[in-house]
Symmetry: C2
Subunit: 147 residues, 2 copies
Amino acid sequence: VSKAEAVRAIAYLRADGRRLTTARRMVIEGLAQTDEHVTADILARWIQHVHPEIHLSTVYRTLDSLCAWGLVTQVHQPHGAAFFHLAGAHEHVVCDTCGHIGDVPASEFDDLVKRLRDHYDFDLDIRHTALIGRCGRHAAEEARRRV
Amino acid sequence: VSKAEAVRAIAYLRADGRRLTTARRMVIEGLAQTDEHVTADILARWIQHVHPEIHLSTVYRTLDSLCAWGLVTQVHQPHGAAFFHLAGAHEHVVCDTCGHIGDVPASEFDDLVKRLRDHYDFDLDIRHTALIGRCGRHAAEEARRRV
DNA sequence: GTTCTTGCAAAAGCTTTGCAGGAAG
DNA sequence: CTTCCTGCAAAGCTTTTGCAAGAAC
């Protein structure tokens, strides 16, 4: 993720007539810099290196707004905090054992989305939730797990 | 879900050499009776009609154990409490607007599971997370949502 | 100047944990 | 009688909210 995406996101903000505040600028820059999979807490800490006055609750509120405006995507995880990233075209798979987060292109889900829409009248928003499973390294352990 | 599934789950328990306690029996029966999509809290309340001494934390611990033993599936939701059901062969889709929970046969996900395994070295456990999106009734509102 | 945001503190919601007493086998 | 499970109380963690002060336009 590059600086360019931050610039683009900020441009969108202005184009939509939103106010550009320090918190919003920092959140966007933080998401652009800290390589993607960031929780609100980590993001707040990162921002506070430079702007100690920016509160965690402000970060939450800012992330909410940016999500509502389509600039940021929130990904919920079953265990622990949600993570956020600048809106893009990939989905997430999370290893339930080690927490490793992998990226999968959105196109892999096109079939599924279409089938759910056609047969189950459901409009799947796959980006909103991380998919859980086991990465290659831990898939084997799953078999032995029922102890 | 029928009484038969409860009997089967209890039999499994004994066969595995686990102890059959009141809490475990009630949790299994509760899941078999209360028609599927139950949170720990609701389950505890249901149980407490008959056994007021059974504590919510016991219900959580019991559900944890039953999940670990493969008898129960926990489904995490982005907003609000996880729900539980006796292990079965379908997945869940949840409307982000109205909370409606729909069931989708597991077979719909076979392709996806196979592709993730083959190309991304990831062993997807689709049952562990509810898929988020919009039901037919609310899909239209999604378009107008960016305000 | 008006409206939208923020900082702070407090609370909410769901879930987990420590410990000592108690039940299951 | 030994091991595992439970009740209770308390805390944990993430997230939300009310309100008055402050910033953006």
